[in-house]
């Protein structure tokens, strides 16, 4: 029993790291621009495919591949912002329209990937081979890298958005564009930075995940849904809360899988999410106001 629990804990940690990376990317765009980017999962998928093309098909090595995946995803993110989000700023139903345009971007990316890379599954090699045993549960060394890297990245983003001038200006732009412009913030640049950063994060996550899961055009869908749940638990807004919620959900999910089986786990997660929102409309860690 103990062993099973430990295994669940470790697999919760892996899931939590993944969700934290995904959700914090979503959260960056949400807190700064007030846009919920439904193409986030698809950007992750693009990161994985590009990493595969560069490292496997072109044989340039895995690290180059990961870098390329991150970069291409970032560029696509900037492009999405420029073409699909910026034109609707200040529109009365902007939230809804951007939900729709980013959904459209998701469709375009997914179908485009299908055309370019075909329907067959791909996989990346691992950064480090071999297995690591944590608390008696075995995971691959690559997953261990993910687990280790996630908090570092999260911390870096947190520092960036709260402590640096650029980071703060992103938040300001998200809250009031005109006022931001009037104190000298370059609004379009800020938008591009926020989207590019978030997309780069997605691309990196995808490239790392591509060694653990199979790369398919729809591989981003499931992490995106989980990231949504995370974001709800955490309460949209603060990065720390999002990260905390990510690990919490990862653990809960892993434990639920052990106790209830995979079948009812999503059901219970969704139910929990609704219940949380009924009693705490701003998330578990969200303020009351």
């Amino acid at each position: 029993m103990i062993e099973t629990l430990l295994a669940a804990l470790v697999s919760g940690l892996v899931l939590g790291s993944l969700y934290a990376l995904m959700a914090s990317g979503l959260s960056v765009v949400w807190t700064t621009l007030g846009v919920f980017n439904f193409a986030h999962g698809a950007l992750m998928m693009v990161g994985a495919f590009v990493a595969w093309t560069v490292s496997e098909a072109a044989g340039l090595g895995l690290l180059t591949g990961i870098a390329a995946g991150t970069l291409v995803a970032a560029l696509l993110g900037v492009l999405i912002e420029r073409l699909l989000v910026r034109p609707f700023y200040g529109h009365r139903s902007m939230l809804l329209i951007t939900v729709m345009t980013t959904l459209a971007a998701m469709i375009i990316l997914e179908k485009g990937a299908q055309i370019i890379w075909g329907a067959r599954l791909k996989q990346l090699p691992r950064l480090i081979d071999g297995e690591v045993s944590i608390l008696g549960a075995t995971i691959s060394a690559h997953e261990a890298v993910l687990v280790g890297l996630a908090p570092l990245i999260l911390f870096a983003i947190w520092r960036f958005t709260l402590k640096t001038r650029t980071g703060r200006s992103l938040r300001a732009v998200g809250q009031n564009q005109n006022s931001a412009a009037l104190i000298g913030i370059d609004v379009p640049v800020a938008f591009a930075i926020a989207f590019g950063l978030s997309a780069a994060l997605a691309g990196l996550t995808g490239a790392l995940l591509g060694s653990i899961r199979f790369i398919t055009p729809v591989m981003g869908a499931e992490p995106l849904v989980k990231a949504m749940i995370v974001v709800i638990f955490g309460g949209l807004g603060s990065l720390g809360a999002t990260a905390g919620a990510a690990y919490l959900i990862g653990l809960i999910e892993a434990l639920l899988i052990v106790w209830l089986g995979l079948y009812w786990t999503p059901f219970v997660l969704f139910l929990m999410m609704i219940i949380v929102l009924v009693f705490r409309p701003n998330g578990i860690f969200g303020g009351k106001e």
């Binding site: 001038r165 703060r168 200006s169 938040r171 300001a172 809250q175 009031n176 005109n178 006022s179 931001a180 412009a181 009037l182 104190i183 000298g184 913030i185 370059d186 609004v187 807004g237």
Partner: protein
Amino acid sequence: MDNLLTVSGVTAGYGPITVLRGLSLHLGAGECIGLFGPNGHGKTTLLQTISGLIRPTSGSIEFDGRELTRLRPPHIVEAGLVQSPQGNTLFGDMRVQETLELAAFSKHARDDRQSNLEKVFALFPRLEERRPQKARTLSGGERQMLSIGCALMCAPRLLMLDEPTLGLSPRLKEELAQAVGSIAKEGIPLIVVEQDVEFLMALADRLYLIEHGEVVREIDRANAPDHDEVMRLYFGEAAG
């Protein structure tokens, strides 16, 4: 020309709606001018156009010998042209302190950040009390103070205030008048938009009456603005 700011023949508006119709005015170095006129006749629109938030469809704006018409807002602020907008909608979820620090965003404003912050707090002690509060929850007057404070943090070379006394208590209004006066005395030229003409007259060297997007009267010290006459003019025009 020793004019710091020259607005000539500016036409601007919102999409199909034209608000400013060939408006011209100017401001000399160290001068303080006031704009007044009935509601909805384009004063705010003018300030927004000067700040680059609205692109004029024709006409030109020159600041310090430099053409501004093509520049985008961040560059205009960088040049030292700063405004405190009407309605004082700031960054709702940012705290007072954060907001003020961020407001010193442009390159040349950053150096004086600390001293400017002290100045702002000296001017509005209430803001210092409410430092950790989120802007969204401030009272109407407090928000107005924060808005003006932000503008001061930008190290303005020309400061534009859009209805700064809106919602301020009589006492604060008076203090603000003094503060603005001392800003002007420090040599920072001002453009002030106000409904309270008495407030304006105490402050400004020249007044422009704006109606239907045009300057309909220019009143300066030289052609001896008689208080009653201005009031009559204002009442008469606005009522009609």
